[in-house]
Symmetry: C2
Subunit: 335 residues, 2 copies
């Protein structure tokens, strides 16, 4: 634990009480000026720290994804260990991670923000990212994978998210291939994977994750409100963002390391089981047009297999899936 | 023609002669200070301009890829029209084009350098880029293409390069799928395509091209010297870099616009005809290992089809091809 984390812990141990700067300096063996610098950094990170002649105190409980909250309890080996970059506000964690990756930041660099001013989803959509209501996070990966296996990274990310919801909150989420996580028919999380490649190999992938946690949907646009849900809406208690993010990073790292070790099979099997599109009649929209058919499997590379009405099999890397089955059965019922 | 191009033309019209600054200012209807600023810019671009009381003169013929040389005779509609960025020296034109693309520079932006200090080829290799001896160029593309069709861009680039050699220099080059151009068994040009993608679509591709023109191979490392060739080595006359680049940009644009218009078939047919691997026994090395077999076609998406010794067909996006046929026939002859 570094000096800043120790100061934070001392303040948290005595919520609402004053902790003298002199006592902190003595016990941590640093100058009082150093203590004051760390206090200023904690305030910049979003902590409500009062200061007076009596010392310092936390005037409000912190619910932050700052390094001081996340790093001490983080059980990963690589993800977020060396570089955990935290922002009160950023345009988009994916943008920032891409900027860092192009400067050479290594695999496992994690970018987290309390708020995104230009949060992005797939296909140029906005990802609503109000202050403190979600988890907005990106990880830099530099896998030695051929380009055709790139979808595996989205697949394992989706599995890691659903596992996290299951173990931390007892929420059964499902994967809408390739990049969305649903609970009770509404979107609770999304993935935006962006890659730089020279065709032979992948220079880096930035995997962006947005989780809806304590969203105040009243503030959201209508179409978003009816299509989305959050941990708060599905669960009695608002989720602890800190524990969720720590577990998510751990699950992500575990599945990613399995992939690199050539052990993707069990992740893929989970993805098949958790899929909400396999076995369904679907419509797939891509840049090139659309296909209607039955989604019947996800292959080893993470591609969706769809058999169209002419019996032709399409191996699909990406696209926008709409599940048609429920609509069809509803129409049947009405007849 | 802008003021700078007009000044350059006036100097070129009278090689070795002094052109008065006052006369230039009068004829172009600008101040003498403006003339002097443009002269300084021309010197920065690499022109050998003398100045004296008598005026200005070109003291040496220019062989530069500067805007003043390239743009007046450039017949493209988009490529290099709005943004033609020229550098005496840069780390790598692909690096610079990627930096510009991430800042939003549009499709058709062209980056050209006289010299690269960190010129790159595929698979992390160096591309030797000595001052003025080659063409080092990158174009930003923003095609509405699904990721699986991305190889088409490398294919059309290879075709555009071979066409340029054929029409400008009467040199018959062949394509070593996917990214190299050979003449008489030696490499004369290479392509490095780098893409940013979110799986659904391509945000941008930077297509980098390196052509060996007037290379002094004595200065090159041994292994490079035996494997590479140049226009100068294959042709009686050293190539005019200006005309070559102008024609290359025009050919590139034509094939690219055909691709976007859904007319890739004839480009692909050219690529098949020009291929030096179709019909050959090859070894393909990829991140995942290697395949030995017969390369028998390039499919619609630009993937190489290889039938291995067990009769299995591999559809290959990328990798390093070695042609084995000549070795085999040699061995047969020796037996």
């Amino acid at each position: 634990m570094n000096v800043r984390e120790s100061i934070l812990l001392a303040l948290k141990d005595r919520p609402g009480d004053w902790v003298s700067g002199e006592a902190l300096a003595l016990s941590l063996n640093v100058s009082r000026t150093a203590i004051w610098k760390h206090i200023k950094a904690l305030i910049a990170d979003g902590y409500a720290v009062d200061s007076s002649k009596k010392g310092y105190r936390l005037s409000a409980p912190a619910d932050l994804l700052s390094p001081g909250e996340i790093c001490p309890g983080l059980a990963t080996n690589i993800f977020g260990r060396k570089h955990y970059l935290y922002y009160r506000e950023i345009d988009s964690t994916n943008n920032q991670a891409r900027r860092l990756a192009s400067k050479g930041y290594p695999e496992g660099t994690v970018v987290v923000a309390e708020m995104q001013t230009a949060g992005r989803g797939r296909r140029g959509r906005t990802w609503y990212s109000p202050n403190g209501q979600g988890i907005y996070m990106s990880v830099i990966l530099r896998p030695m994978l051929p380009l055709k296996e790139i979808s595996r990274v989205s697949i394992l990310t989706a599995v890691a998210i659903t596992e996290t919801f299951a173990t931390e909150l007892d929420l059964q989420a499902r994967i809408k291939w390739p990049n969305d996580i649903f609970i009770n028919g509404r979107k609770i999380a999304g993935i935006l994977s962006e890659a730089v490649t020279d065709m032979d190999s992948i220079e880096y992938i930035v995997v962006g994750i947005g989780l809806n946690i304590n969203n105040k949907f009243r503030e959201f646009p209508d179409d978003f409100r009816t299509a989305a849900t959050s941990v708060l809406a599905e669960h009695e208690l608002p989720g602890s963002r800190v524990k969720l993010l720590q577990t998510l990073l751990l699950n992500l790292e575990r599945h990613y390391q399995a992939l690199l070790a050539g052990q993707f099979a069990s992740t893929l099997e989970q993805a098949r089981t958790l899929s909400m599109v396999i076995g369904q009649e679907v419509r797939l929209d891509t840049i090139n047009g659309f296909i209607v058919g039955r989604a019947f499997d996800i292959d080893d590379n993470g591609y969706l297999l769809i058999r169209d009405q002419q019996g032709e099999i399409h191996t699909v890397l990406s696209g926008e899936i709409s599940v048609l089955s429920s609509t069809i059965s509803k129409e049947n019922t009405l007849r």
